[in-house]
């Protein structure tokens, strides 16, 4: 008679409200942000496209993110990315799907994210460079390398700025890893894009 425990409730795309249709520039901002959030996740947790596709399957979003190529094209849609070839227009539904996928993955790795933020607090308190903590050092290196490799302005961006960006994204990831993460990320994206 014992029934299996249900998987955690899945936040549906409809739960992410849209009060206005973003214009192309706003969508560009959204794409760039989402790509950065995923980049931070990759750098910290080592998740790759496999895990992202699995997340898409868990969330029943295969229709929007079917395979590696589709995912690559979605992420390539960020205006920050190098090269224009294969760039695809990201529509709102796809943006929502990426929000759900990002937060799903952040939730799966919440413990690690939390540990990284705790370390960052500790290092800052002791006036030490975050790099000196192995977890943060690896994260920052991975983030910087990937950023420089993939982004158009990668070679011209100073390491300090990238470090700061990486750390801000790390703290953001923590907030996205909570139950209300998808709502937080979505509202942040559309509100920021609107300004």
């Amino acid at each position: 008679m014992q029934s299996p425990v249900k998987p955690p409730a899945i936040v549906s795309i409809e739960a992410l409200p849209l009060t206005h249709q973003p214009d192309p520039t706003q969508l560009d901002n959204i794409k760039a942000q989402l790509d950065l959030v995923l980049l931070a996740l990759e750098a910290l947790t080592g998740v790759g496209s496999e895990a992202m596709l699995q997340a898409a399957a868990d969330l029943k979003l295969e229709a929007l993110v079917a395979d590696r190529v589709a995912l690559w094209r979605l992420r390539q849609s960020s205006p920050l990315r190098r090269g224009q070839g294969g760039r695809k227009k990201l529509d709102v539904e796809e943006a929502r799907a990426l929000v759900l996928i990002s937060c799903h993955l952040a939730k799966q790795h919440q413990e690690l994210i939390r540990r990284a933020v705790a370390l960052l607090e500790q290092m800052t308190e002791q006036n030490r460079e975050p790099h000196q903590a192995a977890l943060l050092g690896d994260y920052l290196d991975a983030f910087n390398n990937t950023y420089q490799e993939r982004m158009e302005d990668g070679d011209n961006t100073s390491p300090d700025i990238l470090t700061h960006l990486a750390l801000k994204l790390l703290i953001d990831l923590l907030f996205y890893s909570a139950a209300s993460g998808p709502r937080r990320l979505w509202l942040a994206l559309i509100d920021r894009a609107k300004k």
Partner: protein, 468 residues
């Protein structure tokens, strides 16, 4: 009259307790009537020395004010991702990564920002530290300000989020609050409640049908986070990418004030002792209740004989008064279409909407027989079902808890034992088999989840967790 803890949220670095007391009227009504909702928030990060722990206490309105401040602040913080756009500014002066408090310049501008009516305010002190101005919550022990680390802010935001999603199901009880109501005669109080409900139902209906926009959003007088730097920082013209990076601006250092939601807390009516709010909002609206606005929360009163009678007696008055009574000022503000395209307002509305949407009313309390929370009759039916059957097996020392999912036709769809012991004892609980008729059919709902708590002393409790 003792306060008992109704809910407790325990993320790693804080503990939030929601308390209430049972009114003496409970005796006459045969069920507990809760009032005087209070909260206690312990900022008890185990990493900090105990003398740095802070305990905040307050009432329902103050808790709602705190919720709104924290939710809005977190959202603004998240919107402040430094971007590598043309607005790229310096990593702030001072420390190489500006994670330590170096924002004195910004702090002075922030202090001029109006806080909400409870005087609660959050402001950034670098990426990793946040200053919580306690306002009304300040005491001699706490001082006027306390600091939150990133993790503490995260935990606090989550605890408050959980509270706001669950509290929808709890009745609004803040008898000591609005003094203008206390001075008013009974009919005025009831009329005021009606007005609030009508107003909220209207706004909620708009939220519900998805047509909410900035124009009908929650009220706020604060400025949107629309400083020109932010505008620049959020645009990403690819052409700018090749330029030498200028110093990176940190948009989140210029947070606008949190919307003064305290002002919207005040229209929530004070209620005479023990008299439950007579609210006729339909159940779906309850899910969408704008908790952020300190709205009165409908309690189901259909089985509440005493209060129902009061309501009948006063209906005529109510209607007459509803026409003639001018809107209380804050409420009028709430109903007035906000024409300015105000980001925080819209965000608050969107937040409230999705808060409602992503977790439905969870009804529970530690109050025995929790009947004030039986928002659907099936909860009481389930309780009666087990009260007739549950006898504690010999040797059982633990409480058994189960989550029961009930289908539209009232049959049992799923049984989820909570904890190992509950799984072991499942065959002795008297829970019907999956698919068997159990309670009366749900009224136009797809399913409902009820939590069943069976105590070794023979007590049976049921709580509504969600309705879909």
């Amino acid at each position: 009259m003792s306060l008992s803890v109704l809910r407790r949220y325990t993320p790693p670095t804080c503990t939030l307790e929601i308390m209430g007391s049972q009114s003496p009227l409970s005796r006459w009504m045969g069920q507990p009537v809760l009032k005087q909702l209070r909260f206690q928030l312990n900022l008890d990060d185990p990493k900090l020395p105990e003398d740095k722990w802070v305990t905040l206490r307050g009432d329902r309105a103050q808790l709602d004010a705190l919720c709104e401040v924290v939710t809005t602040y977190v959202q603004q913080f998240l919107e402040g991702v430094p971007e590598l756009a043309d607005g790229r500014g310096a990593v702030s002066n001072g420390s190489p990564i500006a994670l330590v408090p170096t924002l004195t310049a910004q702090a002075s501008t922030l202090q001029s920002v109006p806080s909400n009516s409870a005087g609660i305010l959050l402001q950034p002190r670098g990426l990793l530290s946040h200053e919580l101005v306690l306002g009304e919550l300040a005491t001699e022990e706490t001082g006027s300000v306390t600091h939150l680390s990133a993790l503490q802010l995260f935990d606090l935001a989550n605890a408050l989020d959980e509270y706001t999603t669950e509290v929808v199901a709890l009745p609004t009880l803040q008898p000591a609050q609005s003094s203008w109501l206390k001075r008013s005669p009974a009919w005025a109080q009831i009329a005021a409640v009606t007005l609030v409900v009508v107003g909220l139902s209207t706004s909620i209906a708009k939220l519900w049908d998805g047509s909410y926009t900035a124009k009908n959003a929650a009220p706020t007088t604060s400025q949107g986070a629309s400083s020109s730097d932010q505008k620049i920082a959020t645009q990403l013209p690819p052409a700018a990418m090749n330029e030498q990076p200028a110093p990176l601006a940190l948009p989140n250092q210029k947070l606008p004030p949190a919307p003064p939601i305290g002002s919207t807390g005040s229209p929530a009516p004070g209620l005479p002792n023990g008299l439950k709010p007579q609210i006729v909002a339909p159940l779906p609206s309850m899910k969408q209740s704008t908790t952020g606005a300190g709205s009165p929360v409908p309690a189901d009163s259909s089985r509440d004989g005493f209060a129902a009678k009061t309501r009948q007696d006063t209906t005529a008055n109510e209607l007459r008064v509803a026409k003639s009574q001018p809107l209380p000022a804050p409420l009028a503000g709430e109903l007035k279409p906000e024409l300015a395209d105000d980001a925080p307002a819209r965000r608050a509305a969107a937040g409230a909407a999705s808060r409602g949407a992503d977790s439905l009313a969870a009804n529970e309390s530690t109050a025995q027989n929790g009947t004030p929370f039986d928002t659907i009759p099936q909860v009481a039916e389930a309780r009666r079902y087990f009260q007739g059957r549950w006898t504690s097996p010999q040797g059982l020392t633990q409480v058994l808890e189960y989550r029961l999912v009930i289908g539209a036709n009232g049959s049992l769809q799923q049984i989820i034992p909570l904890g190992l012991t509950s799984g072991d004892y499942i065959d002795r609980t008297g829970i019907p088999l999956v698919g068997e008729p159990f309670v009366s059919p749900l009224n136009s709902k797809r399913n409902a989840t009820i939590r069943l708590v069976l105590s070794p002393d023979g007590r049976v409790q049921t709580f509504l967790e969600r309705v879909e």
